[in-house]
Symmetry: C2
Subunit: 335 residues, 2 copies
């Protein structure tokens, strides 16, 4: 077991050892430590090797200085300068929140940035502050929508958060692919098949072999043509709207070892007090109670909150081997 | 065949004969005529009997005067006053567009209104004006998400529109239920079964009988738990955020003959010129071309545009029997 604070500090030391300035390292460490704490394991410590190899590859610039513009009062437009998207968001976050409060609605559009963490983490603080938040990010070309036989768009997660009277916000995120790419990576690592109907091989034929999907194949969107429409909308809102790159324009192949994508992100905030929704937090609770009463067995985020509570009481589970590995990574890489 | 203009005028006469003032009647006639012209038949003339019985029931007020407030610069909050949602939108539309241009982002939240038409129609003009638009509406309780065994939320459509360099905007809408309620109505009318896996009966058991679904049963969301999350998000954004009613709070049962729901709607507009996305219309085209090159066989909206082009050249298909029925409805109902 390790406490959230100790894990955060350890991760920040790893990222500074790999060339990130302390502020950026602390931001990124927070994103990873929160995912691990909340049992979103596919976006927690599992990803550290990918972060470090991406930093070493030069594809992502750990020392990037994002450039924030506010072209109009309600829009923060950020050039991530090839750094991590969480650092770009932090650069615009305070003005974004101020604009949302003053105008009732605001957005931040981030381009030229690398998002490799859980998307929900980005927006939870806005819901803590009483706002409704919607986030989308695109990524490396891995999904074939609308009958396409090869990958064009990213796994394109979407996240939603809103205040909830009973306590922590309602919060979820999900890939718009039928399964997350991280699940394919973990299946390949563990030698498992992936479910039928979620992936194509490099010839555009269905496959359940995670290696065949990774070797030039593609994932399918969730939910058939409706899911394909959502996934494609995310690609357009995260990239076309922000000035970012589409998944198929990512040039990670020029940077051996890179696992991230240079892509875009959009976050929209709305203040319910400005839209007729004062009392929204109670109304959210009313709907969720009604769902539970009708037999719903899975309110999104419940598992996350249970894991978080357990981590606060008992610490975050970690093996001694992994802890030793993390400590080893706090030494600068031989270069 | 009937021209779009003639159909629009005929529908406006029907709605005025049923108590709507001429401006409101023309707005609603536009929504219905556009759906019929674009071959969205489930939301076209098929719905006229439902409109008229809802008006006669007193549940919807055809003469409603919406009240528009602008609590903050970026938010138009509209009380639809129990009228049709399209009339409420029109009351705030000009200020909404102005705010989106000035601030880069704006939204309109509509409560206490009845939406019974195609959602895409509401936002197409904003994309024609160069904006990205996202719309959501909730409705009468018909869908059971997250393992619920009875209906709680609406079929909750979501629509997206954005400019496209080659001409008409990219535009789609879809119910977030596995199938649209209109498809259930048409299956019941025609004596067909509905697909397996999309509906429950009144006991919470799977059914393929459209009558059993209608008789106290429920539809399922599209796309499993991911679709359930999207569908529930729509319920929260369209109702909790706007101050509108949830699907399960609809009280149509007090108004025999009513087929509409008193619910909420949210529309968000973003100007790509304010978010780093100048040139977005060309970028949208780039992505769609790439999708087609990869074998995609179904770009959303293509069928709609083909039908629209055919209607412009040849007129809109209509039977003599239906035309006679429409003409009969232009006489005020016996009361």
């Amino acid at each position: 077991m390790i406490s959230y604070g100790d894990l955060h500090a350890l991760l920040a030391r790893i990222f500074t050892a790999h060339g990130m300035p302390p502020g950026s390292a602390a931001i990124l460490a927070g994103a990873v430590a929160q995912a691990e704490r909340d049992a979103c394991l596919s976006h927690g410590l599992f990803r550290i090797p990918g972060y470090l190899s991406s930093l070493r590859s030069g594809y992502v610039d750990g020392a990037a200085v994002p450039v924030v513009e506010q072209p109009r009062p309600g829009t923060m437009a950020v050039d991530g300068a090839r750094g991590f998207a969480q650092v770009a968001l932090e650069a615009g976050r305070v003005r974004l929140l101020e604009a949302a409060r003053n105008l009732g609605i605001a957005c931040i559009s981030i381009r030229n940035a690398h998002h490799y963490a859980a998307l929900a983490t980005d927006i939870e603080p806005f819901a803590d502050a009483g706002l409704f938040a919607l986030a989308m990010v695109n990524g490396r070309s891995r999904v074939a929508p609308f009958g396409a036989r090869r990958a064009v768009i990213g796994t394109n997660p979407i996240a939603f958060a809103c205040p909830r009277a009973s306590g922590a916000p309602l919060l979820w995120d999900m890939a718009t692919s039928a399964i997350a790419n991280a699940d394919v990576l973990m299946a390949a690592r563990d030698g498992h098949a992936i479910p039928a109907g979620v992936a194509l091989d490099r010839h555009g034929e269905p496959t359940t072999d995670p290696e065949a999907m990774q070797d030039g194949g593609a994932l399918l969107p969730f939910g058939g043509h409706k899911g394909a429409a959502i996934a494609t909308m995310v690609e357009l809102l995260a990239a076309a709207l922000t000035g970012g790159r589409f998944g198929f324009e990512d040039d990670a192949f020029r940077y051996p070892g890179a696992t991230t994508a240079n892509a875009g992100q959009l976050i929209i905030l709305i203040d319910p007090a400005a839209t007729g929704g004062a009392g929204a937090a109670e109304r959210v609770e009313t709907l969720l109670t009604r769902l539970t009463d009708a037999g719903a067995d899975r309110i999104p985020g419940d598992r996350r909150l249970a894991a978080r509570a357990s981590a606060a009481e008992n610490g975050i589970p970690i093996t001694q081997a992994l802890l030793a590995q993390l400590q080893a990574w706090t030494y600068p890489p031989a270069s």
